[in-house]
Symmetry: C2
Subunit: 318 residues, 2 copies
Amino acid sequence: MKKVVAGVDIGGTNTVFGIVDNEGKVLAEGHLKTTDYPVVTDFVKAFSAALKKLIATKKDIELTGIGIGAPDANFHRGTIEHAPNLAWKGIVPLADMVRKEMKVPVVLTNDANAAAMGEMVFGGAKGMKDFVVLTLGTGLGSGIVVDGKLVYGHTGFAGEVGHMTVVPNGRVCGCGRKGCFEAYASATGLVKTVSLMISEMRDESSLRDLPPAKLTSKAIAEAAAKGDPIAVKAMEYTAEKLGFGIVNTIVFTSPEAIFLFGGLAQAGEMLFKPVREYLKKNNYVLFKNTVKILPSGISESNGAVLGAAALILNELNN
Amino acid sequence: MKKVVAGVDIGGTNTVFGIVDNEGKVLAEGHLKTTDYPVVTDFVKAFSAALKKLIATKKDIELTGIGIGAPDANFHRGTIEHAPNLAWKGIVPLADMVRKEMKVPVVLTNDANAAAMGEMVFGGAKGMKDFVVLTLGTGLGSGIVVDGKLVYGHTGFAGEVGHMTVVPNGRVCGCGRKGCFEAYASATGLVKTVSLMISEMRDESSLRDLPPAKLTSKAIAEAAAKGDPIAVKAMEYTAEKLGFGIVNTIVFTSPEAIFLFGGLAQAGEMLFKPVREYLKKNNYVLFKNTVKILPSGISESNGAVLGAAALILNELNN
């Protein structure tokens, strides 16, 4: 019997899960539409049935645990708490519910923490003790690893770097406060920057012809690569804000590397290069040339599943 | 034989050391003028001789280790590196040098980290796993404890929260950058705020009559307590900046408490109350009402010696 774990990524729209071996190979994958299950008990039943069915398609495997990445997840309590992007309101004891159905250990954390575990176990942070993963998607999530362990803090919610204020009295953030890091350094933040620049600047830009639904971070990165002046300025502005937040991050835990993951990170060197230059100029003297800015070593496509799998593997091995 | 440790606090001007038992009782204390020893080997000899002499005054004690707090100290390497406030230039392997003289284990970290260890072992953080100590003196030092351990990071210099930028393009900091937390939320920062307010505002103020050498954070706190308008405004401004930096600190490690230590913290409720109010309003939603803002539980007078003693006790016990 080959021992395997399941990695689960619960998103606002879709839930993806996979059976993963110790080497990080995804043996089989399945998915559910999260929005089909407005009642969480129905979700747990449907998910457990689907996972059992997936396991049955493989011979000679034994499920030893389940790792789940989900928004607003609390590692200490195994709960999802007041997640604005999920239909399940209040405090949901998801880890316990899944454990009762599947009879194996279940751990739960937010998707950015899971991404950090994935990076440590299967990705570019193998062998590193101190690093940070920033997931630059709709928002900005973060997983902080100190001395080989994820930082959960007193509440279980530590690592909300996206809600560090980077611009006092700046842009309104989804959290209701102003000037948060994620309001600038995320795919959504880049789109917002372009929208503002389009209305405030006179430069010609192909982005002016795009309907709002097509104005994505991908479209902006592509326009910037072609030299579109507004796209270029928006990327520069975003990289500067990202650099600013990274410099402020470094003074806390002095990481060996900061990994950039998610939609905005796909812009590649167009983003990484100015961020590295920002650090060269602005990093605090004790930390100059001590931090690598790296792309994630995990592929975007199954990163969430691998991260969740790494979370439970790490738990089972410690 | 009663087992004891030595706690040593090396400052730019004075070095204080004490013999401390397991319960945090300082059995004897000594001191040297750091500035008398521009050559570090002379310092180590003089210090070792003085410590041996101090030990000889006590009967039936056995020294088991030495903890040292010093500026720009690197825990991993046991070194003091390029300390601008010390005459010893370059990289000084102080832990090794003292170990050779004293033949006991020696550990070294910066004074704020030592203060955090003191808080955990002897002070208000007993039993806490996740907390932060901010030392608000000439600068702003910080010691971050995560899951019961001090965060040293990849470089050994982690916890430089005083050099987080809180005001983009703000006041020039001693580090050469602009807008650092310590340029505002420290005893020095408060004095600077008053100097600026005196020149920019018309309000009457008793502080206008003080020569610069007497314009201290203590004098300002006393004037504020009497209702002096500029002193009151300066305290409010400082508390707001301190609150801002604390809110940004919380999103990283989600501490149970933040301890304020050092000269500026002596202002007491005049500082603590507005900081707590700032947090009520501005803390990120996941961390609302999860963080206590507390005065240090260690007395100012021997805090540095106790912190350094706690550092080595913690090392010997783990």
